[in-house]
Structures are given as structure tokens and as C-alpha cells.
Assembly symmetry: C2
Homo-oligomer: 352 residues x 2
């Protein structure tokens, strides 16, 4: 299995060409996804029905020559399993029915048992692994403690997550209590996904970049490092590469690389060559084309892919991806142009 | 007039205490603003009526011991004067009725004459200067060419401004044509504000940070530098300090400091001490408390202000501000706590 070029690249071993997958590759830009989503009735039901989650997970793998599948799920499955009540309205984003508003709310939280309380995720992982027939590796994932705490406090998305920040500032002990139980939950959840068959793990710290540097260190990075360390003591997870993606936090790349993770996801606001020069000796890098490039013409998409791969160069340890999730308005044909360009330029650069 | 501590700090001269003003200080968090806004009927009418724009500009100066006033206006006055038709619905953000959709749209654009087509802004500047009685200096401002181009192409705000980016990628010549006429318009507009009495000028590059590094250089930074250089040849503007604020673009601080501006605005995702170490020898720095801190308790607000001022230290060239505009949900009493803390800590640090 470690012969898969995605896993080899995460281990910074030589590959025949740069592997490629796409954040949110099973998503609304695909008509076959929209059809399954319509059958599921709701987004949450799609996540919670292993057969349907498996179906959409495999759709982009059938359509494009991708090098990894990623579990179709949502980062808010953990708060949902903690009893906060997840719903997702099309266009309006996720909502938690019972946000954390008091010390008592937070004190009452306990870490879910993944095989009990998130069984549908583990079943989906097992089913997807079976259906993938080892064609490509499967990535499991979770939200970062800080990002989950943001949603758990606000109850929904926010431009600034000011309420979460105010709790961190006014009552850091309570915020750490929340982050602690979430970090333990994330660790157990990721370890269980690895035990169920996930061959790589990714943590999405979507809102880490909204924090001032000191707060990033205390309330986000600290828990990312703890998760990376804790996974080392789990039998199933210790040999499973961990990818950390802290969006908008390129100022902290060195600190993120020191957490013990295998790889860092990069958004598109840093050049790949610069990121490699800063941390490429320690971790693999994943990214980082601006998703907006997929709105450009095919020739421009191919040229941007080539420039990105050339900027990273023939060094080991690059997984191509977008710098954030593919957006619903993208033409699937443009995605094919991008993937094909990664194949072509990746072979040229790596001699495969 | 250069004895004002705000202007002295921009010139990196010694001051008795750190000067302070607040981005969007005349805004919805103030009940007196909401009252004037209601009388104006619409946001655009508030901008376009010099007496009302003057009234709201002076409201925060009356309420708090601030060291600068900033013209009440909108960055989209220039596209409006170009004929694109600005409207601003409460809560929905600005809209341009005639976004640029074709080469012909862009080719037909001409730079507005500030004293003709934006006379209401110049009249407001003159009126505010008269009413301020030199109590504090007045800041004039404009949007950056890239940020204005984003709105002119999309017609409204966007999470990614993918349409604007796609034009830049697919047809850079047309994008440069647009940016060129906007940059000439911004330069003339800022020079006219200086001639009308503005004592400092600021350019808001709100969406520069959404660009990949190469694109930032080509489509945003290049035009910021051109504006900084061009203002040097305007009699009224050449001795008027220019502040550039490129949100989310801290990776480019050195390049921004090399544009010829007097100062850089900083968002809150960089420590003041680090920013000073990187560029403080060349430019003054303005910022950068996270606006979310104003949701915290008074003691925490004061502590965060003190930490920020201590991090910058007693070096010349600091203007205290938030790292982005004050939000409408802030309690005006918390703003007073922040301003008072800047006065107290600023005197302690600078010996005033």
C-alpha cells in the first residue's frame, strides 16, 4: 500500500509523478454528487448514511485520475455526536442547535466514543476501503479543536468568530477546558478512522488564521501539536501520515512543521518554492493552487499548474491540491484540465 | 500642524504618547451615527451630503480623545463617479448597478475629475477641516486599484472575487487597462483630497490578501507603488503622508514598505514587534488590535492594548489602531476603554 504515490509523497520518497487530489473533490460542482445529495434528502443524512457517503466519495475517483480519495463527511460530526445538533441548510452553511453558552455547557461535554457515537463514519470508512479495492488510498479527517470550538460557541459560521475569541480572552481556563475535550475527541476520532482503514489523516484548521499570533499559539497550534503527538501512541494511527492544514496561517509554517505531522496543507497565498525552502526539509507539502484559477481558461489553468509544480521542483514531498476547497460553480471539465496538467507536468518534472 | 502627534508619529518623530484613531470610527456602533444615518435616508446619501458626512466624521472626535479624524465616505465613490451606480443596502453590502463585463465596458472608462465628479467629497473635506478647527488632523482615503477593480468586475462583494481573478489570469492586458485607469483616478482623487485639506492619506487594499504572491505583485502592489510615486509629483500631496493598508498581506510587508509610502497599516495577524523588526526602520506602522478584542471585558481590553504597545516599544513611528474596522455590535463604552488604555500605556511607554 505504501507504493501508492500519494503515501510515498507524504513520506517524502521519490515518485514517478506528483500525486494529486482536491479538497472537497466530492462536492456540489459534480452533477452526480448533486443527484446523490438530492436522493439523500439532507446533507446531514448524506453524511450519516454510509452507503451514500461511500457513493459520493467514489464519484470523483471514477471521473478523474486522482491519487487519493477523501472520506465524504463534515468537520462538525464531533460536535453533533456531543449532542449539539448539526444541521446544514443549502447555501446557509452549518448550524449547531445547542451552542455552548455557559461554563456548565462546556463542563458537561464528554468525548464521543467513535465506534459507538460516530459509528456511521467508521462504517463509511470501512465500506469505502472495500469499494476502493486499493485503487487509491483513503484520507480520513477532522476539524481542528480551535475550528470546532469556534462553531460550538457561535453555533454557526461567522466573519470573525468574535464570541469565541472573547471567551478565549476573558476566560482562557474555560476555553482550554473546551479545547481539551475537543482535542481528545479529535484524536480518538482520527485514530478510529485509521483503525477502520483510513490510510492518511488530515486536520482542517479552517479558522486558525483568524487568530493573532499569540492566540494562534495558545489556542490552535498547541492542540494541533497535542493531536499529532497523541496519535503516535495509537497503534493504528502511529504509522498513518497526518496532514495539518491551517488556512491563513503561513506565518506559522515552521511551528506547524514542528508539531510532528507528516505534511502541511498550504493555502494559495504563499509560493510553493518559498514554503519548501522554509519547511520542506521536515515535512511534505500539499497544495496550493488558488481555487479561483479553475474559473480561468484551460490554457491558463494548465500554465498555472505547471508554474506551481516547477516552483516546487523535483524535490521529494509534494502533493498537488488546491489551496482551499473546489467551489460549487466550477465546470467539472476545468477540474479535468487541472488534473491532467498535474499528471503531464508532474511526470516531466519527476521523470515518471 | 505637524505638531499633531498623529502626523509626528507618521514621520517617525518622537511623541509624548502613542496616537490613536480607529478604522471605521464613524460607524454603526455609535447611536449618534445611526441617528444621522436614519436622517440621511440612505448610506449613499449620507456620503454625498457634505454636511451629513461632516457631522458623522466629527461624532467620534467629540466622544473620544482620538488623535485623527477620517473622512466619512466609501471606497466605491470612484466607480460611482465613473458611472457604475453605487447603492448600499444595510446588511447586504455595496452594489454596483453596472459591473464591467466586456472589454468595451473597460475601454470606455475615464478617470473622474475630483472637483467636478466627486465634488461632494472635496466639499466634505473642506467643511470637516473648517469644523475641526485644527483639533486633530483629517485623513482622506481611497480604495486600492485591485480592490476597486474587484468590485467593478463582480458588482458586489464576494468570498473569493474569482471573476476578477479569472479576468486577471485570462486577459491580463484588459485587467491592467482597468487597473491603470483606476490607479490614475485614485491618484487624482487623493491629490484633490490633500489639496482640499486632508493632512494624511490612506489607501485600503482590502482584497489584496486574497491574491497569490505573483498576482499580488502584478495586480495590487504595482499600482500601490505607482500611486505612492505619482503623489510625489502633486504639489498638495507630496508632503502629505500616505498610509497603505493591504489586509492579509503581511507576507509582503517589505515590498509594501519599499513603495515610498510613509506608513503601513497592519491587520492583527502579525505581532507589532515582528512587523517593526521587518520594516520599522523605513516606515511608520499603524495598528493592530484584533477588533474582536472589543468584545472582551474592559480589563482584558486594557491588557491587550498594553501588550501591543509594549511589543512595539518606545521606538518612533507607531500609530495605534485596530487591525480592521470596528464592528457594529461593539459597545461604545468598550471603545472608550481601549482609547483610554492607549493614552495611559502610550504615555508610560513614551514618557509623555
Amino acid at each position: 500500500m505504501s507504493d501508492h504515490r500519494f503515501l510515498r509523497a507524504l513520506a517524502r520518497q521519490p515518485v514517478d509523478r506528483t500525486p494529486v487530489w482536491i479538497m472537497r473533490q466530492a462536492g456540489r460542482y459534480l452533477p452526480e454528487y448533486r443527484a446523490t445529495r438530492a436522493r439523500a434528502g439532507s446533507f446531514v443524512n448524506l453524511c450519516k448514511t454510509p452507503e451514500l457517503a461511500c457513493e459520493v466519495t467514489l464519484q470523483p475517483i471514477a471521473r478523474y485520475p486522482l491519487d487519493a480519495a477523501i472520506l465524504f463527511s463534515d468537520i462538525l460530526t464531533i460536535p453533533d455526536a456531543m449532542g449539539l445538533g448539526l444541521s446544514v441548510e443549502e447555501g446557509a452553511g452549518p448550524r449547531l442547535a445547542k451552542p455552548m453558552r455557559t461554563h456548565a455547557d462546556i463542563a458537561a461535554l464528554t468525548a464521543p466514543d467513535p465506534e459507538m457515537d460516530l459509528r456511521y463514519v467508521m462504517d463509511a470508512v470501512r465500506l469505502i476501503r472495500r469499494e476502493l479495492h486499493d485503487k487509491v488510498p483513503l484520507i480520513g479527517f477532522a476539524g481542528s479543536p480551535w475550528t470546532l470550538a469556534c462553531y460550538m460557541i457561535e453555533g454557526q459560521g461567522s466573519a470573525s468568530f468574535a464570541r469565541a475569541k472573547a471567551l478565549a480572552l476573558d476566560d482562557p481556563a474555560t476555553m482550554h477546558k473546551l479545547l481539551d475535550v475537543v482535542a481528545r475527541s479529535v484524536t480518538a476520532y482520527l485514530a478510529a478512522q485509521a483503525a477502520a482503514g483510513a490510510q492518511a489523516l488530515m486536520v482542517f484548521d479552517t479558522w486558525g488564521g483568524l487568530l493573532a499570533p499569540d492566540m494562534f499559539g495558545e489556542f490552535s497550534l498547541h492542540y494541533l501539536a497535542r493531536i499529532a503527538q497523541s496519535l503516535q501512541s495509537h497503534n493504528a494511527a502511529k504509522s498513518t501520515p497526518l496532514i495539518l492544514f491551517s488556512k491563513g496561517a503561513n506565518a506559522h509554517l515552521e511551528a506547524l512543521a514542528d508539531t510532528g505531522c507528516a505534511a502541511l496543507g498550504l493555502d494559495w497565498t504563499i509560493a510553493l518554492g518559498e514554503a519548501r525552502a522554509r519547511v520542506g526539509g521536515r515535512v511534505a507539502l500539499q497544495g496550493n493552487l488558488d481555487p479561483a484559477v479553475l474559473q480561468a481558461t484551460p490554457a491558463v489553468i494548465a500554465a498555472e499548474v505547471e508554474a506551481a509544480l516547477a516552483d516546487f521542483g523535483a524535490h521529494p514531498g509534494h502533493v498537488f491540491n488546491l489551496g482551499h476547497g473546489v467551489t460549487p460553480d466550477v465546470d467539472p471539465e476545468r477540474v479535468k484540465v487541472m488534473v491532467d496538467a498535474v499528471h503531464a507536468a508532474g511526470r516531466r518534472i519527476r521523470g515518471g
